[in-house]
């Protein structure tokens, strides 16, 4: 199945891409996807501890099962609003 991987802020700069396509076996969990994706992008791996991950605009757990066409977003710690 195909997934869209969205990258923001420092992760976007590290990967030098806003969006990447990714292919995974049906039934893959979010945790399994992350293992594979971070192995392919080792410079992002050190950020896993502070990384928030959203699937289709909602924060999701590593146990969540992914589906064809899912939008997976890797979110650095947020810093909106006032300074």
């Amino acid at each position: 199945m195909r997934l869209r991987v969205m990258l923001f802020a420092t992760y976007r700069e590290i990967a030098d891409a806003k969006e990447l396509a990714w292919t995974a076996e049906p039934g893959t969990t979010l945790g399994q996807f992350l293992d594979a994706f971070l192995a392919a992008h080792p410079r992002l791996a050190p950020h896993r501890g502070s990384m928030l991950v959203a699937v289709n605009l909602a924060v999701a757990d590593p146990t969540a099962v992914l589906h064809e066409g899912d939008e997976v977003a890797l979110l650095p710690p947020v810093s909106g609003g006032c300074p």
Partner: protein
């Protein structure tokens, strides 16, 4: 009203969006870009569809939690110069206490859970000659 905008935040429109005849108090918070050392502007990067969803949910939770009448949030996307408004939160309530509390709580949450990232834009290198 939940708005993510590349243009100047229209503060009057944000205020008017929460005004109600049953309100005795309106509180507005503006986050403004502060002239810190070496800062002439800030860049705001936003995961727009998720930010809209999280902000809409936040506004509903604030209404339920504090019993306020209405609550609007507007946030800038892109470059905001020093002195510019990066975020506006307006809240109307029957009494002032809950309006202040809801507005302050929403700002804490905006900084905690909304997918927005700010950065200092890199300075252009000036070449001599």
């Amino acid at each position: 009203m939940i708005e993510m905008t590349r243009r100047r935040i229209d503060v009057d429109a944000v205020l008017d969006s929460v005004r109600r005849d049953e309100a005795g108090a309106v509180v507005l918070f503006l986050g403004t870009v502060r002239a810190d050392a070496d800062v002439a502007a800030l860049d705001y990067e936003v995961y727009v569809p998720m930010a809209k969803k999280v902000l809409a949910d936040l506004a509903e939770r604030a209404k339920a939690k504090f019993g306020v009448l209405d609550l609007s949030i507007a946030h800038r996307i892109g470059r905001v110069p020093v002195g510019g408004d990066s975020v506006a939160v307006a809240c109307a309530a029957a009494h002032r206490r809950e309006a202040f509390e809801a507005c302050a709580w929403v700002m804490d949450e905006v900084k905690r859970i909304v997918p927005i990232w700010k950065s200092v834009p890199p300075r252009r290198v000036r070449r001599s000659r």
